[in-house]
């Protein structure tokens, strides 16, 4: 499904990824682990650039529109699937069928109380879950998520990750929490200074094995 061969990538003019070889097949759940600056975000971007079609993305900075409601921010995930006219009407008067679909997604993420609240008035953790909700609404073959649970607490992290696993069969997550990576993903990719230094099934690893990466 994903096939990268000796790829390099630069971020703001500095080479941050070197000789990346990566194959991911359908149904795999990958966690990218490593220190900040090790190239996780760049790798996520690189994969997105190669496979933009039918891929949902949760960027690190959420990419939300503060002045739009939670509903509209989630709806943005499917703008391309509807006519512009329908989108504009929905912007002014939310369509009830869309509201219902999105409400169901928000219930799963414990956000249903904020359906029509402007995103600008939410906390950091709530915003992050809205970004996840957008990807769940968007659907697709592949989910790329860059630190999708960095601002929510442990218990909610598990809820959010579970929702993401339910929504997508193939997933690539950048995660700094190794414990979560081991319990939710089936393959771990370790990055250090822009190179892949570890590629192993999750069940073969313990948290101690990952410590060396940090």
């Amino acid at each position: 499904m994903i096939q990268l061969q000796s790829e390099t990538a630069s971020y703001q003019g500095v080479k941050t990824l070197h000789d990346i070889d990566l194959q991911v097949s359908e149904g795999e759940r990958l966690a990218l682990v490593g220190q900040s600056g090790s190239g996780k975000s760049t790798l996520i971007k690189l994969i997105y650039e190669h496979y933009p079609v039918n891929t949902a993305l949760v960027p690190q900075d959420y990419g939300l529109v503060n002045n739009l409601s939670v509903f509209h921010n989630v709806y943005i995930g499917r703008l391309e699937q509807r006519s512009t006219f329908y989108n504009l009407v929905n912007l002014i008067r939310p369509k009830s069928d869309q509201v219902e679909i999105i409400r169901t997604i928000l219930i799963g993420l414990q956000l249903e109380d904020y359906l029509f609240r402007p995103v600008g008035r939410l906390s950091g953790g709530q915003k992050q879950r809205v970004a996840v909700a957008r990807s769940l609404f968007q659907k697709g073959h592949l989910l790329l998520a860059d630190e999708p649970v960095s601002s929510v607490d442990e218990q909610q992290s598990r809820i959010v990750l579970k929702e993401m696993l339910n929504g997508f069969s193939t997933i690539v997550l950048a995660l700094h929490d190794t414990q979560l990576a081991l319990s939710f993903c089936d393959r771990i990719i370790g990055l250090e200074k822009g190179r892949i230094v570890l590629d192993s099934p999750a069940e073969a690893l313990t948290e101690k094995d990952l410590l060396s990466l940090y």
């Binding site: 509209h72 703008l79 109380d113």
Partner: protein
């Protein structure tokens, strides 16, 4: 619980303004009176292809005069404004400045024409006085908002002046500089239109060329004016300014002398309300005043408000159409260049000149005024919003086209847009009033007529009413901005943008 979708207050306020403008349209006269308006417009644009520079000495003279009046007026205004800024915390200074600002340069010119005649002092004061009042306010804001930490470290015994130059000015210098140079650009526009009331600047040459139908000369003048404004940062240099300021008084043409009888008569007779001068009875005085208020002030106010509200909403609509033209989110560099050229031309042309041209082509109705105000203001705000839009970071998977416009950019920029538009509300009103001089029945029309009939007492009262109306709209705008919590930043560039939007 936010379980029912509610539109934002900004949305509701926007529609309120649109409805008000729609309602105003019913009461406005918007028709094209001239017989062959498009024919004439075509002739005008044909002139663009054949700009006529043959009369170079006359054109050059007009530009030298325009430059000299602008430089001296703005320099004087900024000096006085700077001094006033030091005592701007005095309430009466603030009120006086607000009042002086509320009166348009052209109205000041009409007043000073009565006092000094066509003496250069008329033009210099017409620019200098309202500019000083504006400088005082903005300079005071800069001083107010600047960092004061260095100030606290300076010994208490140091003199106020040296403290100011060491602990405050260095950090604030950039703010003063950018704002002042921006105002010089405004000063050039003000100076140009002073020609319409008889001073020897660009407006004078332009209007005579226009009346004679020499459209090629009109374009030569306009093109040179665009060039002058577009290159402003190359020829306005701190090192060159003293040269300009010293040269300007020698360039300004003066073939008239101030008649002190006139000055005296103005203050002791002309502006004293006629009933007082005549010693009328109370009922006669009341009759005089009510006649003025009911038959001139009232229709003038109504028409000014109608024109303002329509022009405000039209400016807003044009802004929303204009800003994508220069935004990296919508067009490639080639397309954006065309957008930039269009917006630069529209915002550089003073709205008074735009209105004058359209009025000559279409005949006197509100339509030319609406179009001129909307084009000019839409281009100014469109330019600012376009620049803000560039800073919006979109996700790599963000939508395109109209979806991008309505879902990604408009929601992010709308607050900024409303803030800028409300800032320009007062300016649009000031312009609406002044365009009356061209024959549209706003307050300027009644003021100009009173002056033509040598009723300066009436003109002064009408100018006073115009100023009050402006102050009122200004505070209404401030109230709305506060209510909608529209952002006001103070960093250098934002400050410059807000000032561009304001003045």
């Amino acid at each position: 619980m936010d379980s029912v979708y509610k539109h934002s207050p900004s949305w509701k306020v926007s529609w309120l303004f649109v409805l008000l403008a729609g309602f105003s349209l019913f009461f406005s006269d918007i028709e094209i009176i001239s017989l062959e308006p498009w024919q004439e417009l075509k002739r005008l644009f044909m002139g663009l292809l054949t700009p006529d520079w043959s009369n170079l000495s006359e054109i050059g003279e007009a530009f030298l005069q325009t430059l000299s009046f602008a430089i001296l007026g703005v320099a004087g205004g900024s000096l006085i404004g700077f001094l006033l800024a030091q005592i701007f915390h005095w309430r009466w200074i603030q009120v006086t400045c607000a009042f002086i600002r509320a009166i348009h340069e052209l109205f000041w010119a009409l007043i000073f024409l009565q006092i000094f005649g066509l003496h250069p002092l008329t033009g210099l004061l017409a620019i200098g006085l309202p500019y000083a009042a504006t400088f005082a306010k903005v300079y005071a804001e800069i001083l107010e908002e600047g960092d004061r930490s260095a100030l606290q470290a300076v010994s208490r015994d140091a003199s106020r002046v040296s403290t100011f130059f060491y602990a405050r000015l260095p950090d604030l210098w950039q703010h003063f500089k950018t704002y002042t140079s921006y105002r010089l650009e405004c000063g050039l526009r003000s100076s140009a239109i002073l020609g319409f009331v008889g001073l020897p600047t660009l407006g004078y040459t332009l209007s005579s060329a226009f009346m004679e139908g020499h459209y090629s000369v009109v374009w030569a003048l306009l093109l040179l004016f665009y060039l002058l404004i577009a290159t402003i940062r190359y020829w306005v240099r701190p090192a060159l300014l003293p040269v300009y300021i010293i040269a300007a008084p020698f360039i300004i043409a003066n073939d008239s002398t101030i008649s002190f009888d006139n000055v005296q008569r103005f203050f002791t007779e002309d502006i004293i309300p006629a009933p007082i001068l005549r010693g009328d009875s109370l009922s006669e005085s009341w009759h005089w005043l009510s006649d003025l208020l009911l038959n001139q002030a009232l229709p003038g106010i109504v028409n000014t408000v109608i024109l303002t509200q329509i022009a405000l909403v039209a400016s807003g609509v044009l802004t929303l159409l204009f800003f994508p033209l220069i935004s990296t989110h919508f067009f490639k560099p080639a397309g954006r260049t065309i957008g930039h050229v269009l917006l630069v031309i529209l915002r550089t042309t003073p709205e008074y000149i735009l209105a004058y041209i359209l009025l000559q082509l279409w005949g006197p109705s509100m339509l030319p005024a609406i179009v001129a105000l909307a084009l000019h203001n839409g281009a100014i705000i469109g330019h600012l919003i376009g620049r803000y839009s560039i800073e919006v970071q979109l996700r790599v998977d963000a939508s395109r086209g109209l979806n991008r416009y309505f879902y990604e950019l408009l929601p992010r920029l709308y607050g900024q847009f409303l803030a800028f538009l409300f800032y320009r509300w007062e300016i649009i009103m000031r312009e609406s009033a002044i365009l009356g001089i061209l024959g549209i029945a706003t307050l300027g029309f009644y003021i100009d007529s009173s002056i033509q009939e040598l009723h300066f007492d009436k003109a002064m009262i009408l100018i006073f009413i115009t100023a009050l109306l402006n102050v009122l709209v200004d505070s209404l705008s401030r109230y709305l901005r506060g209510k909608l919590r529209l952002r006001t930043n103070v960093d250098c560039r934002a400050r410059n943008d807000y000032c561009t939007a304001k003045e």
